[in-house]
Symmetry: C3
Subunit: 351 residues, 3 copies
């Protein structure tokens, strides 16, 4: 199997969009190099279909929605939300080849998830969840869809890599105090984890603005990477006087930054990010203030990751070197490769 | 023969431009992936040459016209309208290799035709003609050159396909009344024909504005496709009371929309369109009103055809299905392929 | 050696920039398809390094300069001007693979030269020099960096080709009087030379403006091409009454236009041009007036050369013909090929 497609894990739930992105109109999407069209049906559910008429290949998203059916914009072939053709103008019989592929969809926590693999393997229990979504002690807020011209694995690496924060985000999420602090890694369970605590150090820009910290703090960064493409960054700060233990992070100002990566193609990834916090619950102005800070920080990542994507396209004359901080990223790539290999048909492994 | 060029019929007359496009100045053209330069000579004829100096390959269109000769803009090599080199500055002898290819050109009905195949096969009697060009009962008017990022075969298919009108042009050339009307096809003669009549139905937008019809009409669409790249769309409307027979179309308001397709490359086609009509003869305001309506309609085609061109570049996982309405397009492709095969040198067929 | 890189001579000094372009900040460069980063150190010397961190390949030019060291913008790996890694944040040992390549650099006549070949072959005595740089009878002035989307060999050809001047620069550097004047060529020494004298002819636009000539002049063009990529164009004018001999050019108004070509990739070349003159010494207004005239002329070359680059990408059906005026260019290409062949490793020549 040498197609470009074998760089993706297919048997997985990906984020197709925030719930608010899906209305009763045709929304073209591109996920794992597959052209899709989504819309919300009258019963409130979301349907996502292959975005290509099987007749002349016009994207169905160029057509029209008639009730819950899509009518192709070229010759009027019409498909229902299950992908079945229900009308061919000018002809009575509908051949069995007149269908489009559909994808399992599940909506949860105001997020629309799509299963890109074999439909009968789709298990909604496997969809990402955080208990804090259900807690009124926590405030959840959806941010933006950040478009990066970068391979999803490079973006994901960045999300299991606390060490970059000191250098890429010196005015927002990191500062010089963390430059030489050791990164701990736990790669034994399903979710990869890299973390570190910076004790008794100046607060980073984010918490100067948001938590109002000005004296030294204890602060932490926990990077959880759920394979293939979801990251939770648990970070926060607390007064040094509180002498917070690792397990007591809820006593500080604690934030979860969530990143849902949707690979578009091998050089394009959408990172839908949102955040949850245990402070300023219900305060929408605080949400917007945080959005603004995250936008600055994530655009710093974008600049780095897009420059790397371009550099990787050049002729390679040396093998990249690996550092101590790379354990998380290395294991991530190994696991992804293993998942991809596991999806190959038996016959091809033997070929 | 595996070059990209074997997707074109070469032994054919193509439209290089309206007569008004050719003046005593250098006009670069690209037809069947060949760079050409055209200009009008002192005697009024049009010359079209290969647009490449045989010395350093500068396009001759970057040079200057001196009387009826082109002087290259780099070192002054000069060619006459027959492609012969008549001067090499700084050198007396002119080698036999100092020439550029020229193409047979013929001007007719204010249209400049070019023969792209072997020159000795060029027969001006084979150039497209309509008797109505010579009739004072008819008014001819040249429209625009519509540039489409689409393969010419997909554009041509659209011009032997009455069924798309109801869905692509619902406010101009078609409406819902025609959606399920059967399409007739006659593919036995040299010119492919697809047609249908819609009887006793609301007039389409075009004839509401142009013919002033508001009550139900009988209307027709005849799509004639002259291979490889010229289409005549004969369409019109008449009062239901007139009970028009198929052969009596001249008694209604009848329009011919002509499309001259010029393939530029495999993803780019120029569609020069014009129209003739048996009403409002001599009324230039009516011509402009019709231009405006056609521009809306043909841009609807452009959007569809460019989206298909892009979709066809993606990896294909399914064979497109064919419908009853596809008979014209299917025969068109088969005929084109047969013409292309007929142009292959004997020796290559045996290879 | 079949990489795209074998179209360049590597064992050569190229111009990386004017001295004024290098300050204490990171300047990304692309030379012979290699990404480089340059900066001026505290001691005034210029360092040029490979612009790629060996860790995650981020261009180092995206990082920061700390004293004379570059800190990578992703994880803070830090390299000195000799390319050695001096710090890896969060880790004590520095592996031997933690380095970036550096390039020999030499600054002379306010120009920064870089050696792109094997470092131990770099000989600063081989760097281009003109005695007039050291003379107070001459005024030197640096012009622009002209960016051309063209192969460097085509640009260089143009600089050993006096014949193009009459046709490409009819209002500035040439005029009709020179069209049929024979070009002399001397290709026996290391520096290729093509030249011609035009006696008793109207002055060209340049010398009407700069020398104030209005009556007929004797004028000359000497094109010296130093391999691989430096050209000196010695041109000037004198009153016909002076009856200047070829060796007496200093008695006329004499100008050297210097072109330092830096190949960026096979379709992109930077031409840094400057000029020296034996008139209006110390007159900066004259320098600017000359800059303005050169800009017009060199943009005329740019238009021609970029059109040729595009034409050469098309499918070639004919072999270009060669003219008497092509001797200089032909020998230039042969010499370049010979230099490139000489750089191939022995083992590959035998393969």
């Amino acid at each position: 199997m040498s197609s470009a497609n074998n760089q993706y894990v297919h048997d997985a739930w990906y984020v197709a969009g925030w719930s608010s992105e899906f209305t009763h109109s045709l929304l073209p999407l591109m996920i794992l190099e597959q052209a899709l069209v989504g819309y919300r049906c009258a019963d409130g559910t979301v349907a996502i279909l292959e975005d290509r008429c099987p007749h002349r290949q016009l994207p169905l998203s160029k057509g029209q929605l008639h009730n819950d059916n899509i009518q192709c914009g070229y010759h009027g072939m019409t498909f229902n939300g299950q992908g079945q053709c229900v009308r061919i103008p000018g002809q009575d019989n509908i051949p069995s080849s007149a269908y489009v592929r559909t994808y399992p969809v599940h909506e949860k926590n105001n997020i629309v998830f799509i299963w890109m693999g074999e439909p009968d393997k789709a298990d909604t229990n496997a969809i990402f969840h955080l208990p804090q979504f259900d807690s009124d002690q926590w405030h959840a807020h959806q941010g933006d869809a950040l478009h990066l011209k970068a391979h999803y694995m490079n973006v994901a690496e960045n999300l299991v890599d606390p060490a970059h924060v000191s250098f890429v985000h010196p005015t927002t999420l990191g500062n010089a105090a963390s430059e030489d602090i050791e990164v701990h890694v736990d790669v034994d369970s399903d979710v990869l984890l890299a973390w570190r605590w910076i004790r008794d150090a100046p607060p980073v820009g984010f918490f100067q603005k948001f938590g109002g910290f000005d004296a030294n703090v204890d602060r932490w960064h926990y990077y959880y990477l759920h394979l293939p493409c979801t990251a939770v960054i648990d970070f926060g700060s607390a007064d040094v006087s509180a002498q917070l233990q690792e397990s007591e992070r809820d006593k500080g100002v604690r934030i979860f930054a969530l990143h849902f990566l949707t690979p578009v193609n091998e050089h394009y990834t959408i990172d839908r990010w949102m955040h949850l916090r245990n402070a300023a619950v219900g305060d929408e102005q605080a949400s917007e203030q945080m959005d603004a800070m995250f936008r600055i920080a994530f655009n710093e990542d974008k600049e780095i990751l897009e420059a790397i994507d371009e550099a990787e396209r050049a002729v390679q004359t040396r093998k990249p070197i690996r550092l101590a901080i790379d354990k998380g990223p290395i294991v991530y790539r190994r696991r992804i490769q293993s998942l991809i290999d596991g999806e190959r048909p038996e016959v091809e492994l033997h070929a």
